[in-house]
């Protein structure tokens, strides 16, 4: 029990990262249902990279131009700005001559390269590439935790209040438009929530776990063949279990945190996959 004892004694260290994991897991698990059903999984991957570019640009401004950006909320603000603008642009820019996935792929690969280049030009070694991409969730400052909480609350309010409009506009935009719904507006609300949730979580968890939590819990819930509302509830729960569980497992097993979260989320796919294999 000494492992547990030392864990409890170290509460100061883990309570913020664990709380951030719970909030981010729930938020990303819920939003992931829309991401998966709207067939925009790779849009979310591109947005995660674009928001990481925002983080790197923030760090760059601080280091090179001495622009005040040392606090988490400055950097997060930059990442959020990039992600929201990216989400709106990817939603609006649909060149007729290209399939949508080509635009998304171009955004992802260009943003990924920009992250690598940007970090290579940063002098301070504390901002390592691995941490940004794969996550380290070791230290989550209070203002960052508050930011994740505020984003989660805003998303919860918007999605509770406008659930039927967002669902209709996502499921059948053609009919929703014909019946007078402002589909672009509701799409923008959804893009805004995803565009805020990704950077808010990505700074604490890392880009790869964020992408995983947007994709895997929702896929696991959908594979089980549940009803629409139940899918949202289960995806939210699985998001929390994967993120918080991944953090705890990585603490005790001394494994990399982000990768542990991703693997736990992937394990959640098994029951649905086995059920389908049997059926």
């Amino acid at each position: 029990m000494s492992g547990l004892g030392s864990f409890l004694a170290a509460r100061e260290i883990w309570q913020s990262p664990l709380a951030a994991s719970v909030l981010a897991g729930a938020l990303l698990g819920f939003l992931g249902v829309y991401v998966v059903l709207r067939r925009t999984v790779f849009v979310s991957a591109a947005l995660t990279q674009i928001s990481t570019v925002g983080l790197v640009v923030g760090l760059f401004l601080e280091e090179r131009l001495h622009v005040e950006a040392e606090h988490a909320h400055h950097q997060l603000g930059m990442a959020m700005g990039f992600a929201v603008v990216g989400a709106l642009l990817l939603g609006a820019l649909r060149p007729r001559r290209l399939p949508a996935e080509a635009t998304v792929g171009a955004a992802w690969v260009a943003a990924s390269a920009a992250v690598v280049l940007g970090i290579s030009k940063l002098v301070h070694a504390s901002h390592d590439l691995g941490g940004m991409v794969f996550g380290n969730a070791v230290a989550v400052p209070d203002d960052e935790l508050w930011m994740i909480g505020a984003v989660a609350l805003l998303c919860a309010v918007l999605h509770l209040a406008f659930a039927k409009e967002i669902a209709f506009a996502s499921f059948d935009p053609e009919t929703a438009t014909a019946l007078g719904l402002r589909v672009r507006g509701w799409d923008a609300v959804l893009s805004l929530t995803v565009g805020l949730a990704i950077p808010a979580s990505a700074r604490a968890l890392g880009a790869l776990p964020v992408f995983a939590l947007l994709t895997l819990p929702a896929s696991a819930a959908l594979l089980l063949g549940l009803r629409f509302r139940a899918v949202f509830a289960l995806a939210t729960l699985l998001g929390v279990l994967a993120a918080a569980g991944g953090y705890l497992v990585s603490w005790f097993a001394e494994t990399p945190t982000g990768a542990t979260m991703v693997l736990l989320a992937a394990l959640a796919l098994l029951p649905g996959a086995l059920r389908r294999a049997k059926a």
Partner: protein, 258 residues
């Protein structure tokens, strides 16, 4: 003037319709009155759906004007394959979405909305499928579900886009029979789009021929339109119309080489 003409529900006057800046068709004159059954026919990509969406106000006009004498309750039935069946929704949940615009923001559907949804499913003959997954339904059942969703809003105008696309003949006939029965049941006006004249000629009261490639937009009663002149303009070759057993048959004449 004798008996009062049925009131106009919605009309386009000298309308330029299209996406972006360049109009697909100009000078479109189209009026839908209460109780109408209008079928818009023409080749795929000919602009039928664009005219329909402009008529409904879902696509802004590039020129001309849209007349809407009073607020109109519209039901819209999209092409079946435009609706993504991956969503884990039941037929009943899909139908309930039809009540969304009438409910207003922040209001959730209540028992009255659920009742209207159940009645709409019963009207199209699949009241027993409310709990079934939309994706598990056959093509004909999905089409009926989408028609029921449009009916759930208690529309005065039912707009239907290619309802029989990709259906076998039996499903096609029974889908068209559902639309005919709904139209016969009251003051519901139906506007439908089809690329196959033979699928709609026995149901519609008036026809619009639409083909932007050749600048065709022609509207008239069934009798006016099922004539060699308008038909050969639409198809670009001689077309024969015959009545067999009370049903219209429309066939291109095989004159020499195809």
């Amino acid at each position: 003037m004798g008996a009062a003409a049925p009131p106009t529900l919605v009309a386009l006057h000298r309308a330029g319709v299209g996406h972006g800046r360049r109009p697909l068709l100009t000078g479109v004159e189209l009026s839908v009155t209460a109780g109408d059954f209008l079928a818009m026919v023409g080749p795929n990509g000919g602009g039928k759906t664009t005219v329909l969406r402009s008529l409904l106000g879902a696509l802004p006009l590039l020129s001309g004007r849209r007349e809407l004498p009073r607020p109109l309750r519209v039901g819209y039935v999209p092409q079946r394959d435009h609706v993504d069946a991956i969503w884990p929704l039941t037929a009943g949940e899909v139908v309930l979405m039809g009540r969304t615009p009438g409910l207003g923001i922040l209001h959730r559907p209540g028992p009255g909305d659920r009742r209207a949804g159940a009645e709409a499913l019963a009207r199209v003959g699949i009241g027993d499928l409310a709990e079934r997954r939309y994706r598990d339904l056959s093509g004909g059942q999905r089409q009926r579900t989408l028609i029921a969703r449009a009916l759930a809003a208690d529309p005065e105008l039912l707009a239907v886009d290619e309802p029989t696309n990709g259906m076998d003949p039996a499903a096609e006939l029974s889908t068209m029979d559902v639309l005919r029965d709904l139209h016969a049941g009251g003051a519901l006006a139906v506007v439908m789009v089809s690329h196959r004249l033979d699928a709609v000629a026995n149901y519609a009261r008036s026809l619009a021929f639409v083909d932007h490639e050749r600048g065709i937009f022609q509207v008239g009663s069934l009798e006016e339109m099922l004539r060699p002149g308008p038909l050969s303009a639409l198809y670009g070759r001689a077309v024969e119309v015959r009545e067999v057993g009370g049903r219209w048959l429309v066939q291109p004449v095989s004159g020499g080489r195809p």
